[in-house]
Structure formats: C-alpha cells, structure tokens
Symmetry: C2
Subunit: 495 residues, 2 copies
Amino acid sequence: MEKVEQAFKELLKEQAAYREAIALTHWDMRTKIPKKGVQQRSEVVGFLAEKLHQLETSDKMKEYIDSLQHTDDELLKKIVDDCLETYERSRKIPTDEFKEYVMLQSQAESVWQDAREKADFSMFQPYLEKLVAFNKKFANYWGYEENIYDALLHNYEPGVTTKVLDEVFPKVRKSLTSLLKKIQNSSVTPEPSLLTVPFPKKDQEALSIEILKRMGYDFEAGRLDDTIHPFAISLNPNDVRITTRYDEKDFRMAVFGTIHEGGHALYEQNISEKLVNTPLATGTSMGIHESQSLFWENFLGRNEAFWNSHYDLFKKYAPKQFEKVSLEDFYQAVNEVKPSFIRIEADELTYCLHIMVRYELEKALINGEIEVKDLPQLWNEKMEEYLGITPPSDREGVLQDIHWAGGDFGYFPSYALGYMYAAQIHHSMNEELDVDKIISSGNYTDIKQWLSKNIHQYGKSKKPLEIINDVTNESLNPDYLINYLTEKYSNIYKF
Amino acid sequence: MEKVEQAFKELLKEQAAYREAIALTHWDMRTKIPKKGVQQRSEVVGFLAEKLHQLETSDKMKEYIDSLQHTDDELLKKIVDDCLETYERSRKIPTDEFKEYVMLQSQAESVWQDAREKADFSMFQPYLEKLVAFNKKFANYWGYEENIYDALLHNYEPGVTTKVLDEVFPKVRKSLTSLLKKIQNSSVTPEPSLLTVPFPKKDQEALSIEILKRMGYDFEAGRLDDTIHPFAISLNPNDVRITTRYDEKDFRMAVFGTIHEGGHALYEQNISEKLVNTPLATGTSMGIHESQSLFWENFLGRNEAFWNSHYDLFKKYAPKQFEKVSLEDFYQAVNEVKPSFIRIEADELTYCLHIMVRYELEKALINGEIEVKDLPQLWNEKMEEYLGITPPSDREGVLQDIHWAGGDFGYFPSYALGYMYAAQIHHSMNEELDVDKIISSGNYTDIKQWLSKNIHQYGKSKKPLEIINDVTNESLNPDYLINYLTEKYSNIYKF
C-alpha cells in the first residue's frame, strides 16, 4: 500500500510540474511574449495541457484511485476523491466530442471578438448555439439531481445548486433595486470627476506596492507586472504573480485593481505546504476566490475607516490636486453608484444585478426555455427591468463578455456569490476582530492571518459551502451583503 | 513510409514543445522568478528535461530512425542523423551513472561557489577529481579516434579535434604574446578612466536598443531584459530573448554586452522556418555561435569605422562629460589591452591567452598527464608564462570559472575558435561587401543579410567546419585573427 501511495504521489508531482509549466506559459503570454512568438506558443500550451489531461485520465491513475480510495488518511482521501472526480468527469466526455468542442471554443472566441467589435450578434449566434448544445450534452454526461444547469454550476461552485441560487438571488435583487431607487432619489451626488486627474504611473505603482505590502502580499513569493487585463496566477504557493493596469488619468483602475488581484494572490500564497504537489493546492472555487479579492477591494479599499486613516498616505503619492479634495468628497466619489452597461465597470452595488441578468438567461438557455436567437432582446429587457437602462447596441449588451464564447456556462453566479461570501465572512471576522480598527492601524496582519487560518490554508481540501459553514456557522446567507450595502450606502447617500 | 515520417515529425514537435517550455523556464528563473519560487521550479525543470530525454532515447525514436535513415530527402536525412547521434550518445551512458553524475554536478557547483568565495581549492578538489573521472569514463563510452579529449570536444565543436587545436593554438599564442610585448612597450597609454563617468541606465538602455535595431534584431520576435549575468536564449526563432546588465558607472558593460548578446540572437532569429520543430533549429556549435556575437561586438562595436561615424550618436545618449573626450582618446580607451586575471573581463587581444591556459590544462587532465591537485600551481605558472601575471589567489585563478564545476570539459576552446571564425568570416565578407562603409552608413542590413544567408539560416543543418569551408573556401585558418589583431593594435599602439 505504501508503494502505491508513493507511486500515486509521484504521479501527482508530475501533474503539478505540468500545471506549473502551463501557468508560467500563460503568464508569459499575457505579460512578456513578443508578438511573433504567440503562434508557436499556443501549440506548446496545447501540448502541455494534453499531457496533463492524459495523466489525469490515465489507467494508472484509476488503478491508484481504486487502491487508495478507502484509506484512513483524511488528507489522502480528499486528494484521491478530487482525482476521481476529475478522472470521471473527463472520462464521461467522448474524446472526439471533446476535441471538437475545444476547436469550437477557439473559433467562437475569435468570431465573438469580431462580432463584438461590429456589434453584430448574428455573426456569433450559430457558434453560441453549438456551444449551448455541447454544454447541454456534457451536462447530461456528467449528470445532475434536479436541474441540468447544476451540472455546469458544479464546475465553478461545487455544492451550490440552482435551488440555492433561486432562493438567494431574487432576495438580493429585490433589495438592490430598492436600494438603487433610494440612491437615485438622494440629493447626494458624488463627483467622480474629482478623481480623474493626471496621476503618474510610477506614483500609482509605489502606492499600490505600499498597500500590497501592508496586506501581507509576499514579494519574495510573487511579483507585480503590467498588463491590459489584470489577473492573478499561481504557479505554486511560493510563486503567485499579479498584474495590474495603469491608467494615468484614473488611479482607481490600478489601485483598486491591485488590491483585488492581491486578495486573490494572498489566498494562493497561503495555502498549506502540505497541499503542494497535489491538485488541492489551489483555491476551492471561483466564488470563494472572488470573496477574497472582493473582501480586500471593498471591505478594505472602499471602506470609510480605510480612507479616514489612509487619506494622508494616499496624498503622499497622489498629485497635488488632491490637496483640495476633502476626505468626504473623496470617499463619496470612490463609492459612486450609477447603473452602467458594462459589468466589469460596475460599482459595488449594481454589480450583482449584472450577474442576475446573465444567470437567468444562461439557466433558461441550458434548460431549453429560451433560444439563442432571442438573447439580445431578453438581455436588454432584463437590463431595463433591473438597472433601468437599455444598452445602445449589443456591443454594450449581450456581446460584452467573453465567457459564453469560451463555453463557460455556470461561471457567472460565482461573481455574485463572491460578494455574498465576502460580506458573510466580514461579519464573522468582526465578531472576533475589530476589523475597522485594524484597518485604521495601517497594519493588516491580523486580517490576513485570520483569513489564512480560516480559509486560505485549506486550499481545495474543503468545499466552498464547507468553508462558509465552518467560518460563519451557517450556510450561505445573503442578508449580510444586503445589510452591509444598506448600511454603507444609506450613510453615503443619507437616506 | 509517409506515415512513419509523419509520426517522426510529431515526435520531433513534442520534443520542440518540451525544449520551448524548458527554455522559458530558464529565462524566467534568470530574469523574473521570485526568490521563494526557485526550489519548486528546479524540480519542474528537472522533470521537463527528463521527459525530453525520454523522448530522445525512446525505442520509438530508434524505430523511426531505422526506418528513415536511408531517405533521399536531404534535410530529413540530416534531422535523422542528428537524432541518431543524440540517441546513441545518450544510450551509451548507463542510466545510473548519468543520474549519479547529474547529482554530482549540482553538488560540485554549490561547493565550487563556496570554494571560490573562500579561495580554497582544497574544498573543491575531491569534487573536481570525481568530475574528471566521470568525463574520462563518458569519453571512453562515446569513443574517439586519436585523443580521448576529442570525445568531449565533440559535444561543443563537432569536427574540431585536438590535432586541429594543437596546430592552431600555439601559432596564435606566439603571435599574441609577441603583440602583447609590443603593446606593453608602446608609448601610447589609453586612459580607460575617461569612460567611467556616471551614465544613467535609461540612456544606456536607449542607446543599446538603438544599436540593436540597426543590427536588425527583431523586437517583435524577442525582448531585452535586465539581469546580473547577460545571456541570449532561443525559445524558437520567433522568440529569441536577450538580457543585459547596466553598470551606471561604466557603459561598456551594457553597450558591448548588448551588442554581443544581440549577435547571438540574430543567429537564432534567422534560422530557416524549415528547421522549426526539429532539433536542427539551433546554432550549430558553441564556436560558431560565439563567432556571431564576437563579430558584432568587435568588428562592429570596437571598430574604428563605427566610432568615426557613430561618436555623435553615442554622445546623443551619453552624459555631457563625453563632450570633452576626443574621438581618438575614446577609441583608444575602448580598445585598451592589459593582461588581467579574470577571463570574462579580458580585452579582445589577451582573451584567447586565457583560453589556451584552460585548454592545455583540461586536455592534460583528461589524458591523465596531470593531476587535479596540481591545477592551482600549473594554472599560475601558465598565467605567468602567457600573460606575465600571477593571480593573487585561486579566486582570481583556477577557481574563477563555473565550467569545470558543471563538468563542462571541452567547452573552453569554443571561445577561442569563435574569435578565429569571426575574423575569418569578416575577411570573406569584406571580399563581397565594403564592411566598414556599411558600418559607417549606420544601416547594417547588408551585413545581417550576408550573415543570415551564409550562416544563420542553416542552423544546425551544417557542421561548424562545413560552415567555415562554405563561407571562406578554406578550413579553419588562424592567420585572419592574427592579421586583424596585428593591424588593429599596431595602429592603436603605433608600432
């Protein structure tokens, strides 16, 4: 048995080596690669991914799983279970269908880019129809209990089902739209133009690094680079890299973006050493990951206590014009709420409404209740209903996100779950720590340690809702987000 | 047959994918990796290298080689021959001995670092003894015709033998030592302190980039980064990266270093597309590679025509102090000849003498004519004999280079060959082109194209001496280097 365990761990180590090589390759492609190197590199990534896939679905892997499945070693059992799930889900898709799907994905992404530019949904429609058909087929291969969409949701947020979302989302939506109405009727009108003054890149970078260090991001186990689309990527817990984007006319892009990616990175940097070289050495779900980035971005970066105590720090790096901006005006401006068309530009309050639009549409698509051709109209209707605005074209509407073009159905809900998890985690943390006081102190070590102890260290060895239950003593509860937003925005908008 | 060829090419493509992943990994480790990521990464590199090695020595590979060895396709035949050589040389080393050797290498490198720091050869001696013993054993496995050292030389400069070197090197050495004597007796005394004025990094970088662009280095197929130890590395001909080092007190480090690495990179960038995804898509030998970097560094960068016509360009980027330095003083200063202890700091004339010391010692070691324990004394005696100076300690003597600690015996001669090849190539080029006129024009396209047409495009599909014969219509001939150095330095030192 010990020999089998040894061989199993060797196989896991090989997988981890491929994962690290793939992650490095991706990082390089997004940050450093010269233009002419891209084509050859894509083939290299494809090759490495195939090798990893072969190991994950190999007969040898199945042999080890069968031998070790009844082990008493709790951690080993979790690793074996994770490998089994990957093995089974991959094996359920016939190889030729999977190959066809991968080709479709890359064609669809390229057509989508064109269609978005031209605001022409009809170009993209036939590809999206095929992607939906594939996803329905795959969902049936994978199986589900109540709703076919659950089989897809499982890829991003295992344990969270349509039933859960259909209880939680409408409640959140109702509260958000009611809050939004009050905000729109408020006499307070934040002035975000105060913030868009020229702010040299090197000063934005210095400020971002200062905050990252205070957050406890370990620069000896990571680095910060410059990209168009900011991201965080883990090669392993000792090498977790982040990127940001500098807009010299709007510091918010880089500063809040860096804090957000820094939150993702802290999660990956603080996964227990015990999990390294196993498939559990990663965040447990998209939603929990997003809860970590949003925790730092909103509960620290857009928090009143933060700016009360850090406005001087900010002004140390910021251009002189900010001397004339009062703290109150500044704080209001960074928290302006305003319905907008583009999800990734949405504020903290309306963001979840963008998600609801997408969730309801993709669930209905996968369930065969609506057709792809009707998406643009349905999208615009829902935007009008939830946010009170109608996109001027499909470029600012149904064509804005890459997710569906990549076949990623079931992904969007994780973003909204991240907001709810973050608020719920923040509430529990506050019962043990005086969070605002720690933020005011300028040294956030206690916050980072609390998150690492309760969440980060476990990586993927706990399921998302297990984390939430263990940390907060209850299951997913949207009231914390609703209460937090109500309190925060009633203060800002004085209602 | 076509099917076998197809399968063979697929296998080559897999090897190329591993090579690119390994090259990227190395580049990242030397330029970007955070400190704590190094340990895990070393294991990833080891894993990828092992996978590549497995493919190169697989039974399947042997099968393809056997089937395709008598093909009429000239290029295919060369690829198959190269694969066969790799296969056979690897297979001749018993696996357990190779593993032991790899472990020894990494131990020895680490001990060597320590020993060098402490200037204590006795620490390193037992490791070097083992490394020599392994290399003798491997050389016997590989086989040779006349001298056991030839089997090692073959790893770096196939076709060049001890017999060749023993004809050429003494002749060069005699000329160099006689030139050196004349220089030391000259009344001309260059003043290199004129050059060591503060020169901001960003200006050095801009100047380096300007020269690289004029050389024809394609920034869309490469990039320039910052490191302690400058290098050039090819991921594939469309992604060839270089690094340089900026010393703000001495621009020569970055400017000549960048030109040197740019020369290596031009070679790799201009290898024919036909060779991509085969093992021939690389420089043919260490010596030919070095001929390319040295051609640009010396025949362009340290050339009188270059400075005559480019001194204004230089002053555009350089600090004001250079306004007061005359062109003549400047040109003399960048070409100062002065015996020194450290090979990598040696000037263009004395450099080859450093190589002769190493060549004679390592050849004698491998032939069992001297013992490891006697190296320090022998080293110092030869330094005194050829350069007229004795290192103050082994740190500046026998312990200065990493090559032997890595088991690289047979490597050093390539450096001196690179000088001779470069001079010989320069002579041939001058018969077709007016090289100095092209350099003076500031647009070096014709030079790059000549080198690409005659050398670069062939990659490893021609052997080193085949290249030299085809380009110069004769075999290796050291007279060109001797004549070039005599003419250049008799002008500078006026003898």
